[in-house]
């Protein structure tokens, strides 16, 4: 299959390195596996025979590549059916989903499979995109979009096919969990913990997307829609962030064997807010870790813990890609 990387930022580059390292595995699954192109916001490189993955994984900007065509757009390659799968890793935009939404819509409508860690299009148009994928008989996989490397969607798809998920709760944002963990262990205030996170590159200069719970709310929407059959929108989520959490509040919680964590919940509620979590509860993980706790009718309780962002996310993207290869290689959706 022919792979096109749309977006060559942090994850695009990390994915290129992983593809280079895992090439023999990929070729074993699909003898025709090749990365035919990579695009950023200003241009792309493309080769029908496949790019040299060694070269691609060695560059930090696509424009360093000798074949870089500046002023060109990924949509041209998608429109001309010059690929079978796109990995859509452009920036998350929860206002209008762009440019990811256009890329994904276009790809699916042309029977091109999509693997994406980009939350924006999923938050805004989950049902539309899933039915577009179904109609065109192609895969839309998004494991990396929620809780990074934690294989929550794959687990549900493969291992909980007969279970009904009754409640889902989780720590879905590593930045806020880092801040709250520092407040818990070091007994420092929110502002200092935030500053420290910013210095370490864990929090953005403008931290509102994380600390006000918007990122967690996006993930709750995707989880509710993908795993619990909802048609939730971001405005349906009752949301409050962690800005007002004081050192005193954390100390009072700690004295009673609780930690304060930013928790997203889907049950009859759709809620993101700081909660008191007993320190011996499986969700009570610290640092930048994420955790998801499922309660199902058959399995009872299941908790997954792992890294929600960073280069570990590549694990999820690569697994999605391999899933597409196993499902589809040699079986072009356009021919079936």
């Amino acid at each position: 299959m022919r792979i096109l990387l749309v977006g060559f930022g942090f994850l695009g580059r990390e994915l290129a390195k992983a593809l280079r390292n895992k090439m023999s595995l990929l070729i074993r699954i699909d003898s025709d596996f090749r990365v035919v192109g990579a695009a950023d916001s200003k241009g792309y490189i493309y080769s029908e025979d496949g790019l040299n993955i060694e070269r691609l994984s060695g560059i930090t900007k696509l424009s360093e590549h000798e074949d870089y065509k500046s002023g060109r757009e990924a949509v041209e390659l998608i429109n001309r059916d010059l690929c079978d799968v796109i990995v859509e890793a452009t920036p998350t935009n929860i206002k209008n989903g762009e440019p990811g939404l256009t890329h994904i819509r276009l790809a699916l409508s042309r029977g091109i499979h999509v693997v994406t860690p980009n939350k924006g299009p999923l938050v805004l148009a989950f049902r539309e995109l899933m039915s577009l994928a179904e109609k065109n008989n192609c895969d839309l996989l998004y494991e990396g979009a929620v809780a990074g490397a934690i294989p929550i969607f794959s687990l549900a798809r493969e291992c909980l096919q007969g279970d009904k998920i009754i409640r889902l709760s989780g720590i879905l944002n590593g930045t806020t969990n880092y801040i709250l963990s520092r407040m818990f262990f070091e007994e420092i205030g929110f502002e200092i913990a935030l500053k420290e996170a910013q210095e370490k590159g864990i929090a953005e200069r403008d931290p509102s997307y994380d600390v006000d719970g918007i990122d967690t709310a996006c993930k709750i929407v995707i989880l509710a829609n993908a795993l619990m059959g909802r048609d939730a929108k971001i405005n349906d989520v009752e949301r409050s962030g962690i800005r007002g959490i004081t050192q005193e509040a954390m100390s009072l919680a700690k004295k009673s064997n609780y930690a304060i964590k930013l928790i997203g919940v889907v049950d009859k509620r759709l809620e993101v807010s700081p909660k008191l979590v007993p320190i011996n509860h499986p969700l009570c993980v610290h640092g930048t870790l994420n955790a998801i706790h499922l309660e199902t009718d058959l399995a009872g309780e299941i908790t997954l813990v792992g890294y929600g962002a960073g280069k570990e996310t590549v694990s999820a993207i690569l697994n999605d890609l391999i899933t597409v290869l196993r499902n589809r290689s040699g079986k072009s959706p356009k021919k079936s």
Binding site: T246, L252, V265, P278
Partner: protein
């Protein structure tokens, strides 16, 4: 719904069976039974039962049947499942309003405050409440928090 009952049975054979009959007849399910035969008081043996009845009516019918059989009832009451919840409130909390909030059966069993500055007081509140009133309590506290511009941190699974 579960009920706690203590009966006084005459200390002679067959009395326990006689007492259990109305319970079965009214659809009650015996959860536990303590028959203190070695502790007769003036010829009577206390029997403590926890019974799960399908309705209040079936409980009342059983009590009436006991009465007509001449079985003495020492005590009978509904067993209410109670839960303990911890909350933390940050900001200028008006504790009076919280104490006066009128959720049925809610009891404040613990209160701890840390006061760096009065307008920023942080309060930990432990509440005991019948399980069935938890949602109501949550709504009440959320409302109060909104009204007073206070941050409410509630238990993860109330």
């Amino acid at each position: 719904m579960k009920f706690n009952m203590t009966l006084a049975l005459a200390d002679k054979p067959g009395q326990l069976l006689r007492a259990l009959e109305p319970i079965a007849k009214n659809g009650g399910n015996i959860v536990s039974i303590i028959h203190e035969r070695d502790r007769p008081v003036e010829g009577y043996v206390p029997v403590s039962l926890v019974v799960d009845f399908p309705s209040h009516q079936s409980f009342r019918n059983t009590i009436n049947d006991f009465r007509s059989l001449g079985i003495m009832i020492i005590r009978s009451e509904e067993l209410v499942e109670k839960v303990r919840l911890t909350f933390i409130l940050i900001g200028g909390v008006d504790l009076k309003k919280i104490v006066e909030s009128k959720v049925e059966g809610a009891k404040i069993i613990g209160l701890e405050a840390s006061t760096p500055r009065l307008e920023e007081v942080t309060v930990k509140l432990d509440v005991e409440i019948p399980a069935e009133n938890v949602d109501e309590l949550m709504e009440e506290l959320k409302g109060l928090a909104r009204e007073q511009n206070v941050i409410l941190i509630s238990p993860i699974y109330p």
